[in-house]
Amino acid sequence: MTGLDFHPVFTRLLFLLGGVGVTVLIAGLAFVFGLLLAVGLAVLRFENQGTWRRLSRSYSTALTNTPQLSQIFAVFYCLPLMGVMVSPFLSVVIGMTLNAAAYLADILGAGMARVPAVYHEVALTLGLNRRQTYLRVILPYAGRTMFPALANHFQIMILGSAMASIFGVEDLTGRAYDIGSTTFRVLEVMLVTGGLYALLSFALTGVFSLFRRTMERMV
């Protein structure tokens, strides 16, 4: 193994590590906004029988059955056509938000279906209004039931945010390409980058289980 030379990568390690921050920011923003949208979509299909439920379902069907990359491309090219100028960074965040909303709505919907039916009547007889019932009872309960699935999707988003590099965003993968194209040590930089993604992912698993345990203690 004489061909590998990591030195040019290590001298640029700080620059590469900066990309980790961008990656977490993209995935984090898309996850938070996606979750907010998903709550709306899930409540919409839970509360309604007809058109609204079909619309919400169709949204998830459409966005979970097409590539996320195409969706980001659509945002990237269509928003400027409509006169809205957005940065590549924002296009990626918006595209990933719309995609996340579709998946997270399905996850939350499944969680809400598992809320015991009697909770709704209990909330009603306790005098909670609909908004209070969702915010205090249904969503927290569904969120806890579905926590592993939600955390899992965030991890997928962290790894999937590498697509941002295609649009010129300097995330972890974007910076790795930069280093690769200036040093020609593509294999080395990609090995290190892969390792960084793995570390990030493991760290998140730790953070999630810590978060979960804290949440369970804070009842």
């Binding site: 009697v118 209990v122 009603l124 306790l126 005098g127 205090r136 009842v219």
Partner: protein, 257 residues
């Protein structure tokens, strides 16, 4: 005029009348039991009293204040005066016992958290659950869950406490504990309406017994020991695993004292 006066309650499902002109009355601090075969409408009747079951017609008087149960706005009024303990209890699994009790007082009645928690802890202590305030419902036994559900209902300071099958999920020796608790609450002035299948408890606990059949009130017994006096009720109870004259749970106050 009786303290609680429910009259002429009709419930329709399409052309089916599941409840026909049902009614009962009760004085303050009395325990009323709805009994009857399954499908007789007793749980439906109980649910009408807290606006969970829309009625076609009916009125309910509480302490002289009359509510038209068929009016769209009646549900809110009914829920202000009554609280219900469901058969499955329905304790919120993601909240501590204490939060289950303080949720409605703080979120709906806008009382301060501190004030609500103070009352909740006192109530838990009274029900023998002082050390359970901070645990999750999943860590409670069936009997404890029920006590917490009763405590949560009492936090609403209801005029009328409704219980759907309070003894169905309990061990026989726990059934007696619930009976003692309900008797205690009634003595403090709480009016209680329960649907029950446990005839031993019904006969020893009830001040009034309402026998329903086919959505109609077939017989009403008044006073302790009424179960044995009315042939319809005595017959029903004796065929449903109870002895109308017996008091095996020992809940009837001793007349010599």
């Amino acid at each position: 005029m009786p303290y609680i006066d429910v009259r002429d309650v009709c419930v329709r499902h399409g052309k089916n009348e599941t409840l026909r002109q049902a009614g009962f009355d009760a004085e303050r601090g009395e325990i009323v039991s709805f009994i009857g075969p399954s499908g007789s409408g007793k749980t439906t009747f109980l649910r009408t009293l807290i606006g969970l079951q829309p009625v076609w017609r009916g009125q309910m008087g509480v302490d002289g204040r009359i509510v038209d149960m068929a009016a769209p706005a009646s549900a809110r009024i009914l829920r202000e005066q009554a609280a219900i303990v469901f058969q499955q209890y329905g304790l919120f699994g993601h909240m501590s016992v204490l939060r289950n009790l303080t949720l409605a007082p703080t979120v709906v009645a806008k009382r301060s958290r501190r004030d609500a928690e103070h009352e909740a802890r006192a109530l838990l202590e009274r029900l023998g659950l002082a050390n359970k305030a901070d645990v999750l419902p999943a860590d409670l036994s069936g009997g404890q869950k029920q006590r917490v559900a009763i405590a949560r209902a009492l936090m609403l300071r209801p005029t009328l406490l409704l219980l759907d099958e309070p003894t169905s999920a309990l061990d026989p020796h726990k059934v007696r504990d619930v009976g003692v608790l309900l008797r205690d609450l009634a003595q403090d002035g709480m009016t209680i309406v329960q649907v029950s299948h446990a005839m031993n408890v019904v006969s020893s606990l009830s001040d009034r017994i309402v026998l329903l059949e086919d959505g109609q009130v077939r017989a009403v017994g008044k006073g302790r020991g009424c179960a044995a006096q009315l042939p319809d009720i005595a017959a029903f109870m004796n065929t449903h695993g109870g002895d109308a004259a017996a008091d095996p749970a020992g809940l009837r106050p001793d007349p010599d004292h």
